[in-house]
Amino acid sequence: MKALRRYLDKIKPNFEKGGRFQKLQSTFDAFETFLFVPNKVTKHGAHIRDSIDLKRTMSFVIMALVPALLFGIWNTGYQHFLSQGTDASFWETIWFGIVKVLPIVIVAYVTGLGVEFIFAQVRHHEVNEGFLVSGMLIPLVMPPDVPLWMVAVSTIFAVIIGKEVFGGTGMNILNPALLARAFLFFAYPAEMSGDKVWIAEKADAFSGATPLAEAAAGHMDKVPDAWSMFIGTIPGSIGETSTLAILLGGIFLIATGIGSWRIMLSVFTGGLAMGFLLNATAVTPYMEIPPYYHLIMGGFAFGAVFMATDPVTAAQTSMGKYIYGFLIGIFAVIIRVFNPAYPEGMMLSILLMNVFAPLIDHYVVQANIRRRLNRIKIKKA
């Protein structure tokens, strides 16, 4: 560690103003702060500073994603061997999953960070850490069998159109990881839907449809039982299948105060409420499923815990968070049940509410102002 520090100090002048690699300053800065806690001191005015900066926040989210990632790796292998009908040991399963999942993770990080670095150099600002989490979320919402170049294309699209055009990290309207998935969904529907893509190198005879697709097609008998959907031994996107692993991450996020429990709670409540409503007025087989099935099927839990809580694109006010989350849950279930063309309503629902989040905040703030003004008036009267 000390040797590394010495080396960085030695090459640092090259990257400062007037140095040889002045243009690459932001690249150097990114690596330095990635390796060591930055020693910058605020020089003007009074600021309350916390030792937790953007980089540490992002690392906590990455840690919260680890259970989902590990389970995803195992499940990729498990589903593959299940479809082939061969028995495989635990380590063979894990190994197959790693071979399938790791390239997707690497491609997402390399292309996404590449775009970020290029933009940082051109605009002469620091490389933001925002992509550390997006780069992990993108692989987790991809099908295991997705071609790698499609991951690259959708990542580039999401980072440029979803983030950089608005001014970079913290300025984006839509969640970049979800945008990548939405892009893939609309651009290459053959690789993103149907029953071919959810199991890596699937045997042809084996049905690989996700529970959502089975439900949307009306095959209620083929929807797996609740327990296996909760544990996650079902086909689906890499990180989304196991509600259990996602909940572990969610508890970690709430305990460290990084993820908003208000949003998570209200998304689940919204989904459950809509589920009850549909269940009570059931006219199609899909509407008859128990309400809690909606929470453990598909990407609902993953979206609620990791996507909806994105602090940049979510509502900022406490009241706004409840409204935002509740509507996400409601719309996700509505889209799933009533639109067979889009089996995964969670993605579209969160993107939709991302757009409305500033509006919700605006009205919450305005309502608060009005309430306080009224209080003054009453006192005066």
Partner: protein
């Protein structure tokens, strides 16, 4: 028209080149975006649409400019509309007669040239106050500016969305499909046209700093 000024003076040429760049009707004035989204799925209809709009803007500008001193101010809009509508119907009939298949593809959008904001904008802002020749040149310039964007957008949409250029299977010839490449369905959908126009605006503004508004 003053006899001293040559037909292609620097000022008149500027009327032609301005709309292509610094005063582009689509990317700077943000007019006519609706049809730019609708007719740009393939190159061929986009080119036909562009030519139609050039013809209509040029001749409606010319006619209105000729009439500009006799049109009563209070009914000028309706007169302008009559001129535009007559020209559009003419263009529509010609398209139906000579390029029927493209005219089918364009469907209502030829008729909707009547409501294209670029036309009304040019008539109100330019033809009503300028001489016939200048107005004619201005009409061609604005039509070209609109058409250029249409062609750029439809080029990318057709190439990436359908893998063809002018209906010619270009991607298939390069053998990319065998390597696992597939067409991007997003480019067929209208949102992608909006995104491409946005990217064009982005590139244009980062090259021409004077276009960026002071905030």
């Amino acid at each position: 028209m003053s006899n001293k000024e040559p037909l292609f003076s620097a000022k008149n040429l500027k009327l032609l080149s301005g709309p292509l760049n610094l005063n582009n009707p689509v990317t700077v004035q943000v007019l006519g975006v609706c049809s730019a989204l609708a007719v740009t799925v393939q190159l061929k209809p986009a080119v036909v649409m562009a030519i139609s709009v050039i013809v209509v803007t040029a001749f409606s500008n010319l006619v209105i400019s000729l009439l500009r001193n006799t049109i009563p101010n209070r009914i000028r809009i309706i007169v302008q509309l009559v001129v535009i509508a007559a020209l559009v119907i003419l263009v529509d009939q010609i398209l139906k007669a000579f390029v029927y298949d493209v005219s089918k593809q364009l469907s209502v959008f030829v008729g909707l040239i009547i409501t294209n904001c670029i036309l009304m904008g040019r008539l109100e802002a330019f033809a009503m106050a300028n001489k016939p020749w200048q107005s004619f040149v201005d009409g061609i310039g604005n039509g070209l500016g609109y058409g250029a964007i249409l062609v750029i957008v439809s080029f990318f949409r057709e190439l990436l969305g359908s893998g063809t250029i002018w209906g010619y299977q270009i991607i298939e010839k390069t053998g990319l499909y065998d390597l696992g490449y597939s067409n991007n369905g997003m480019f067929i959908l209208p949102p992608m046209a909006l995104i491409i126009i946005g990217v064009i605006i982005w590139i244009q503004r980062s090259r021409k700093r004077e276009l960026i508004e002071k905030s």
